[in-house]
């Protein structure tokens, strides 16, 4: 069965990472690895990041040296809240059903 968990959704992982504050690419990789145990590849990271920026969910900040940090936009925060609320509801229902067996 294909992995449909949040850990297989790089966009969601990046939104969660940026909800903790602005980060550049390498910091996002380290953060995602620490809280989700997922090692995103560089192509996956920037593919997802460009998509999020294109959708207006994250925005780039000014360069810091050679690195460009990104931060969550208001739309990104709302989208993340919606996704997590939906996941939370599904998890709660799933746990309740598993607990009843």
């Amino acid at each position: 069965m294909a992995d449909r968990s949040p850990s297989s959704d790089p966009g969601l992982l990046l939104l969660i990472s940026l909800s903790g504050g602005p980060k550049h690419g390498h910091a996002m990789l380290l953060d995602v690895a620490s809280f989700a145990g997922v090692r995103l590849g560089p192509g996956t990271l920037y593919g997802a990041l460009s998509r999020l920026e294109q959708d207006g969910l994250v925005e780039a900040l000014s360069l810091e040296g050679r690195r460009r940090p990104y931060r969550l936009t208001d739309a990104g925060l709302a989208a993340l809240r919606g996704r997590l609320t939906g996941l939370n509801a599904a998890v709660s229902i799933g746990l309740a059903r598993v607990g009843n067996r």
């Binding site: 560089p42 192509g43 920037y46 920026e53 294109q54």
Partner: protein, 194 residues
């Protein structure tokens, strides 16, 4: 491993290439990283293709990245269009030299080909006639940027045209060749048919 970045769409590379290259310097060069980069490039090309209908523009932060330029390759389209239209263009040019300008020796040189063409399947005629119009479409589409967006509940459609010299040259040839063919057919139909 930076050579893999050349596989990425050029507009995307201009926007994110330096950041990605910087990140690669901090990572070990492994086959898994290379595979991830190649997969990322492929995904971006596919995404660009699938997003063709609704181009959007990224302006936050770095330089603008007009995403619709990722989706279309005007030079490739122009070359494909030129290849498609080439047989008809050559046929029309040679016919014009032989039968309109009546260059010495051209008609006798061309006659065996014209006899063969008369015996050829109908599909050859259809191709020679339709190729300039098909090529015109292929060359012109990348020059048209159609943006459709909903603003305050209303559908807003904007049209942007781009200038690409190679495409315009191919378009001009297609118009000339197609125009010549159509006018020739009209004249033949109206005045030369028994």
């Amino acid at each position: 491993m930076n050579w893999i970045l050349r596989l990425y769409p050029s507009a995307w590379r201009r926007r994110y290439g330096a950041e990605l290259a910087d990140l690669l310097e901090e990572m070990p060069a492994t086959p898994a990283t290379a595979a991830d980069l190649i997969r990322g490039a492929f995904t971006l090309h596919m995404r660009a293709f699938l997003d063709r209908v609704a181009p959007r523009q990224v302006t936050a932060g770095g330089p603008p990245m007009p995403t619709h330029r990722l989706q279309r390759h005007p030079t490739t389209s122009a070359l494909v269009a030129a290849l498609i239209a080439a047989p008809t263009a050559v046929f029309v040019a040679v016919s014009f030299l032989a039968y309109q300008l009546e260059l010495p020796g051209m008609q006798s040189w061309l006659q065996p080909f014209m006899d063969g063409l008369a015996q050829a399947p109908r599909i050859v005629d259809l191709y020679l006639l339709g190729a300039p119009f098909l090529a015109f479409l292929i060359a012109v589409l990348p020059l048209i940027g159609l943006r459709m967006e909903r603003v305050n509940g209303e559908l807003r459609v904007t049209l942007a045209l781009r200038w690409r010299t190679l495409n315009l040259i191919v378009l001009a040839v297609c118009v000339l060749v197609g125009g010549f063919l159509v006018s020739h057919l009209i004249v033949e139909f109206l005045f030369e048919r028994p």
